[in-house]
Symmetry: D3
Subunit: 246 residues, 6 copies
Amino acid sequence: MTTNRADGRANNQLRPVKITRNWIANAEGSCLIEFGNTRVLCVASLTEGVPRWRQGSGEGWVTAEYSMLPRATSQRSQRESVKGKIGGRTHEISRLIGRSLRAVVDTASLGENTIVLDCDVLQADGGTRTASITGAYVALADAIKWGQKNGLIPLDKAHQKVLKDSVAAISVGIIDGEPRLDLPYEEDVRAETDMNVVVTGSGEFIEVQGTAEHAPFTRAELGALLDLAEGGCKELAVFQEVALSE
Amino acid sequence: MTTNRADGRANNQLRPVKITRNWIANAEGSCLIEFGNTRVLCVASLTEGVPRWRQGSGEGWVTAEYSMLPRATSQRSQRESVKGKIGGRTHEISRLIGRSLRAVVDTASLGENTIVLDCDVLQADGGTRTASITGAYVALADAIKWGQKNGLIPLDKAHQKVLKDSVAAISVGIIDGEPRLDLPYEEDVRAETDMNVVVTGSGEFIEVQGTAEHAPFTRAELGALLDLAEGGCKELAVFQEVALSE
Amino acid sequence: MTTNRADGRANNQLRPVKITRNWIANAEGSCLIEFGNTRVLCVASLTEGVPRWRQGSGEGWVTAEYSMLPRATSQRSQRESVKGKIGGRTHEISRLIGRSLRAVVDTASLGENTIVLDCDVLQADGGTRTASITGAYVALADAIKWGQKNGLIPLDKAHQKVLKDSVAAISVGIIDGEPRLDLPYEEDVRAETDMNVVVTGSGEFIEVQGTAEHAPFTRAELGALLDLAEGGCKELAVFQEVALSE
Amino acid sequence: MTTNRADGRANNQLRPVKITRNWIANAEGSCLIEFGNTRVLCVASLTEGVPRWRQGSGEGWVTAEYSMLPRATSQRSQRESVKGKIGGRTHEISRLIGRSLRAVVDTASLGENTIVLDCDVLQADGGTRTASITGAYVALADAIKWGQKNGLIPLDKAHQKVLKDSVAAISVGIIDGEPRLDLPYEEDVRAETDMNVVVTGSGEFIEVQGTAEHAPFTRAELGALLDLAEGGCKELAVFQEVALSE
Amino acid sequence: MTTNRADGRANNQLRPVKITRNWIANAEGSCLIEFGNTRVLCVASLTEGVPRWRQGSGEGWVTAEYSMLPRATSQRSQRESVKGKIGGRTHEISRLIGRSLRAVVDTASLGENTIVLDCDVLQADGGTRTASITGAYVALADAIKWGQKNGLIPLDKAHQKVLKDSVAAISVGIIDGEPRLDLPYEEDVRAETDMNVVVTGSGEFIEVQGTAEHAPFTRAELGALLDLAEGGCKELAVFQEVALSE
Amino acid sequence: MTTNRADGRANNQLRPVKITRNWIANAEGSCLIEFGNTRVLCVASLTEGVPRWRQGSGEGWVTAEYSMLPRATSQRSQRESVKGKIGGRTHEISRLIGRSLRAVVDTASLGENTIVLDCDVLQADGGTRTASITGAYVALADAIKWGQKNGLIPLDKAHQKVLKDSVAAISVGIIDGEPRLDLPYEEDVRAETDMNVVVTGSGEFIEVQGTAEHAPFTRAELGALLDLAEGGCKELAVFQEVALSE
């Protein structure tokens, strides 16, 4: 098959996906997820109790923090801890990951526990936020199992109830007029339109974020991109299931 | 006509829109825009020169800053200047406004000039980011005219060239299972799904940001919401044109 | 009458004063106050409870925050929220407004409630701190009435008791050797001496801040400036009374 | 003579004043100034060049920074360097000191040099800002002499030209209905009205800052306070002259 | 052999050491170094040019930044980027790593190039600073080779000249009265005395930092600890040499 | 005796030491300590209660903050309060002082009280951290006596029990190949190796921090430096004892 992509992939093909569970010994859940050269360490920390504004609600809380090591990218960037403030992009992605994971958690079944998902990009080659969401789901699932085994999450709240569904995410975009799946960095910067899509295991949408980077897009193009993303997320859901069943 | 909305609007109906141009005497462009009770002051500041990383490119720069007065909302919130840092939501909306406006500007025709769009929410009742984008376009158009009259933007670069198109934005969402246009605060908090859509005057998309707040959404629901948004933005483009022709 | 002022005013004449009450729908008290082209939005937020260090005292607390929109002035200035810290001038004016308002409030009659006065300068043409104090008094008076109607401020504490007096403020200065009342920006920058005076409705002083900007001033000049300020504040007290009786 | 003051002073009497010149070996000018138990280290640093916004003006710049050691007061306060921001009171006093000193300097004669005055309160017992101004003048005078000896300030710009006059400051206030000079901490907190007055050696005013702390003040009371302050500053000018002639 | 250590090691025995070179594809030098369960990613970024204060000196600059992922430890800690400031411990370790590496670099032979060493602790079990120094040396050596191959470091400056020696570091301490080498977390917290020692490949000291945590130490104990550290660093130098020769 | 030192001292000779107790009237303990031209104000503040993480432990807490006035050095440096953050060096020294003092305090005997040691360098000429530790011990001893007299530290906990020993510190270094005691600034910058040593009154070590500034050091050189430091600290212990017995 002929392809116009630098890495020889078909337009609807994912990069190689690899999920290494329990990469961090002490965490309640963790994995190292790789989408091609993009490598993100996703760690879930489960603790009793919830933030003050949620106390007494009987409901849990799930939140996320995304960050990039200074040399994850080809040019070293300054640490946000050194700058003394978190940039807009980091904030935005942390919020996206948190929202995406909360969408599949039944916080009442979680009880008054907090799960923090740390997604640290060790190496970046496009798609860091979608890899983060996809890997964070695996870490989250393990942390919930840990909480159930260790009695933090009440016994009569079965696993299938705390997690209402699985969730994965992928980037899609239009490059040289072609809709393509799972953009590496060199496609991402050239994309006319760029979209991140978060989809549940049962195929419904949690988040659609499409941006015209170099040219506005039509309703038809939007449709083509959503088709690609639905297919990609279906495949990712299988990778997650396999990883969690090992 | 029967309606289930608290303010009696049809599901595809905008709130009353009002654009008061030149609200700030000294600015190169400004307007006070109102979407119902949401009231945003949009001010465009045009200055010669561009940020260091863009110098010598021959291209201009357009950026935006969004902020909310502490008592724009029903509960007073702490000032970000007092907290000493800008929150994630503020960053995210500022970036969205900047991207949306840049999408209709031909930065080469703008020359090495910078336009900063300040969108300050004086009163908030839902849709502050979409009102900001819609009003910022009017302020931007006036600032460009000012720059052309005052010789900062070269004479042979006609108005229609600097602005490739107009741009407007609206929120849509699913409330009680019904897709609705232009959500006030009380609908916004109850929405199962919530979407902000940025559309050009010629009807193409610049940004689509859909979020499942309380329930994932289907492809069909996504389609219904985009239909509503396209209609709303078409009307807003007329309001903008009328305001600019006065 | 001949005058040396650019706007044709007599040296003892105020600029046009306009007070628009209840500019913000949801606030306990608010007004938009204008001294000529200076336009300040003054909003009072009343909440139950007081800061920790005052709890159990039976007394209320009144404080103020002053801020300027980035393009209130003829040159855009950087937001203090973006800089990450509040400048000395902002701090100083916020403290002045808070002290001036507290001077007319009987905090024991207020009960353990807090009133925050937000004074946001939308357009600046000199006298922003004096307009802020004058407008903040109107917002404060309305917030106290609201608190009494809604039972936060105990019934047996009548209105006249919480507010011991009214308060207004005006700037005066010596320009080209002439003492003048209510300086716009272009006079303010040229003033040899510049003074802000805060006066109660009954004609006593709350604050006198005189600064030799370009030349020290004599005891006689100080006297002439205080005469002007007393007259100006007497007029402002009438504007406040009229606004509050509407 | 009978007196109502805890330390037995007459109402128009200063606390013991002590000025120790050259307390810091390496500085261009310095003194330790004491007003009773208030002890401030005033250090002047003279460097070539001026801030960017003043370059090419041919004029110098004088600025000041005021700070208090954490245990200068009877209760330890947190360091502003630890809090990560400078408080409103510190800003306000630093600005006052800078303005007061600039008022007696002919910046054109100074040439493009910068003098920073650091006023660090080692022990505080009221009047720290007035002691700072009074001591900073001595440090400033020495730094200017140093600059002239070392050729930074051009030879044909004689000393009397750079310093147009001397400057001193004192606090006054009304306690138990009595106007009093030079308030120690225990009078300062009880004062109905409190005023800081900055006066030149030739007896003109540079700054008058009067605040009604517990009760508004009349025009007559204001007059009585200014009389006291004029007398006190005249005495301080003699202390300065003696110190500088040693 | 009998041992009192939880992991069965002899008192003078290192934990298993593992150095994985080139863990980051795009960096000029990098390795993942493991001392038992302690796992640090060391990345060297080489760029042309030096900080402003060193420009024109003809000499290069080497600096380091140490950081810990939030869940490297058994309890999640807050990110320093979120706190908005870097803690004292982080600063101290970053400075130690920088000093240690600079001690073996001939900055004149490096030319006006800057090497930043990022040491990010992915998993922490004691000895993170000594693992960082040991791994950073490997990344540094690779970055220098890269700079020589790519012409940034002049050809006539041979490898052996830029790096004057190798450098490694190890922790030692007294636990239950016994001097021990390479403390894991559980020994580190119980140590009466704790010392970090940085030693060159030729066996000289670069840094000795000994701290009495629970009891002062004698000159004899100090000697025993130094003996252990010299032995440990000699072994680490072999691990480094092997890794770099692969 | 011949000497190579600029100030004519023998290599094993301290600079003139001067300790002025109770320099701050209101503090529980304080002294001004001088090592030659280095002048540090050490103040101990004793308050009831401990930080939250130590509450209920029955044990007290001792901590320290080190800072330098901007013109303590020959070039004025920017205030850390103005920069908005504390530098690495300041953090490191504050931590060292706190550790050194805690090493001689029996926190159980101290009871749930906190002592903060503020060490503010008024004039700097090398050895500021060692002078700080030496002076802080004197202030600490006085604060403990104050606490015992005033009933904060329980009666049956005698003085000798709270303070297990005295503590002093000195710098040593190798300059031009010679080991020397108590380095002033001009020797400190030239030192090949530089070491700070903290020693108890009974001659045991609390902290040894040796750094190769310009050349690695041998085990024999390390020994020579420790010999010098032990001698210097023994002398300082006498100065402390004399000061405390006055």
